[in-house]
Symmetry: none
Subunit: 209 residues, 4 copies
DNA sequence: TATGAATGAGATTTCATTCAT
DNA sequence: CATGAATGAAATCTCATTCAT
């Protein structure tokens, strides 16, 4: 039982590294087997197929990111503040774990219907997270009434693109440098003037109403 | 000499259809050969490899879209107006040519480093187009001074994600329905109230009313 | 684990037969696969490429011949006697194993640089064997001091050509009929009268009698 | 007519260069076409197939070599002297025209029955040349009665092997350094003591009988 | 004569998956 | 649970040759 989990972990680690480096199709099971120091049969004992292994990895990584984001959100008060925190966490985490970014953002596009469903599912999770807080903010009156679904996906896409760019070009370095500009666009986009240097408030904004 | 250009065109057409339908790896050269009614050698005479064929196709489609966008931009006056026109054209065109969208946006992500470089290159072209007009608008004073590069990529990413979503889920139908919401976010994000001048919220979010 | 060595052997056997019959390029991997009753992947599991398979076969055959020659040499006493034994064994063995001859002598000439390097390597092994005994004989004083390296290669070439001729024309039948004439030329070439001690011509050709 | 010959010559030259460098199978018609600055159809107008082109080249080169050898032979008097001259010419010529050597000696082994027939034919021509003078010498009594056919092929093979070795290893440099040792073995092999430094005679040996 | 686009059979190689041990 | 030899379908690519222009 213990060993089983260890082997499984080694396989996932090897797969993470290789898929991130070379993509799904360019990575052969043989390589994962070698890197994980497991036998072919071993991998197939833990994962019924290469695709299943990939999906398991995707889930694992998405879960980890989502959990970090939710923890940060829980720590903050006020919808907009939560949004800002979430964005910070996402960029900081992806910035620190390039491989995570590579797999979560790059993979699963042109790989066939099953992959696309998976990607859709994962992105939906995050989009709904965003949308939920946008809806809350709208309900509070903190922001004007907007199409929060489209906004959520637009934000996701914007982050995606900028992180992707960072992965390839290494710019900006560090990735978190995009944070102020991105926040500015995002928040102003939903009708909130982004606080400038001088007046960054630590306190949540939603208390006194 | 049979008609070289004609054959080349037939191959590109077949490739466009098949790559859009099934993706790069899922499409066998054999199928393209069959669909284009060319011999295998014929395809390899025109394109040295499957990858090269794919890239040529990508370029062709990107060129076509870019040209349409630029024509629209040329027709309009004023930076903001041009931006609006460009966005309209992109959404309208992708909406009408689902295959174009599928190939330009979906393919070339998880297909390995070479593909990603290509995608990056193409997206850069569009990003620079956007950035140029944003910079002009900023110079005109139509918009506040912002990080136009990040904004350009953010917009591109947002469009990408929404079109992708439309490709998968078919929503919203038609795709152009996203236009008002997207424009609103985009323009407001750069400090332009859209579309109603009256509702501009000047106050920051922390007004404590 | 099925029996690895057994499969490898079957592949080498099939390859030997086919390469000997039809040559390297004329033999398709498909045919070897069929003849060896192995799957295509099976062959590639054991040999990374067709070329590698061919080289492995060459080594195997050369090793076998070299071993036979060395055993015969070990059995005999006296440098000249050893040389005679070696020549006999080579001709007798090649005569009996036409396939061995075909592969060892015929293949690997016009097949490109890599093949020729391999052939050179194998021939060097045999040349060194010959040279070693020639040097010994010279040290013993059994033969005059000559360029033993050139002699060794000359002998190898002579044998090569005669065996090649035999392979093509079937003459002389049996191949071993060349033995006396060849020995005569070889030994006389290094100053040893063969086989009749009486007829040694000491005088140079310019005696002017 | 004039142009025809010119084109044909350009093709043969290009083929000579490429076949010598890379071998028959590794050289594509495409490359010859490029190197000769002719069209594909042009090559096929002059030579019905790749094989035919190769054979034509072989013949051309063999003829040239044979002619040089025969001229030298005609210049000399006395069978043994002629032999020495022939050997000198062959080594000198091949030494100067490495490509000629590469094609004439290396090619046409493992390339299938048709190629082997051709090689056999060419080698026969030279073997018969040698044999003829050996027979004459034997008839004259200059050499003991030996198997002149086997001797001729043995010599051919010896030369072949040494030139081949020179082609790959570059040793000995120049190739003609092998001449004395080779002559010594050859002549002694047929019962003629090879003249040492001191008493090299310029005059033919056969006058005074 | 010459051109070069097109042919198409066929070659080598890959690789996810299976299964006897 | 694990191993790794073996499978075999399928993929990409090559290249001598042809033939409409």
């Amino acid at each position: 039982m213990r060993d089983k989990e260890l082997t499984r972990g080694r396989i996932l680690d090897a797969a993470e590294k290789l898929f991130a480096q070379k993509g799904f199709h360019e990575t052969a099971m043989e390589e994962i087997v070698r890197a994980a120091k497991v036998s072919k049969g071993g991998v197939y004992f833990h994962f019924p197929s290469k695709e299943a292994l990939f999906f398991a990895l995707l889930d694992k990584l998405a879960d980890a990111l989502q959990q970090e984001v939710q923890q940060e959100i829980a720590r903050r008060r006020g919808a907009v503040n939560k949004i800002q925190g979430a964005l910070e966490v996402v960029l900081r985490t992806l910035s620190g774990k390039r491989r995570l970014a590579q797999i979560l953002l790059r993979q699963g596009y042109g790989l066939g219907p099953a992959f696309e469903r998976k990607r859709l599912e994962i992105y939906s999770r995050f989009a709904q997270l965003i949308q939920k807080y946008l809806d809350e903010a709208a309900a509070e009156g903190s922001i004007p009434s907007i199409n929060t679904e489209i906004t959520a996906y637009a934000w996701l896409g914007a982050i995606n693109e900028l992180v992707l760019r960072w992965i390839y070009t290494g710019e900006p370095d560090p990735l978190t440098e995009t944070l102020p500009a991105l926040l500015e666009i995002f928040l102003r986009g939903i009708g909130i003037e982004y606080p400038h240097k001088s007046r960054l408030r630590k306190e949540p904004y939603d208390h006194a109403t």
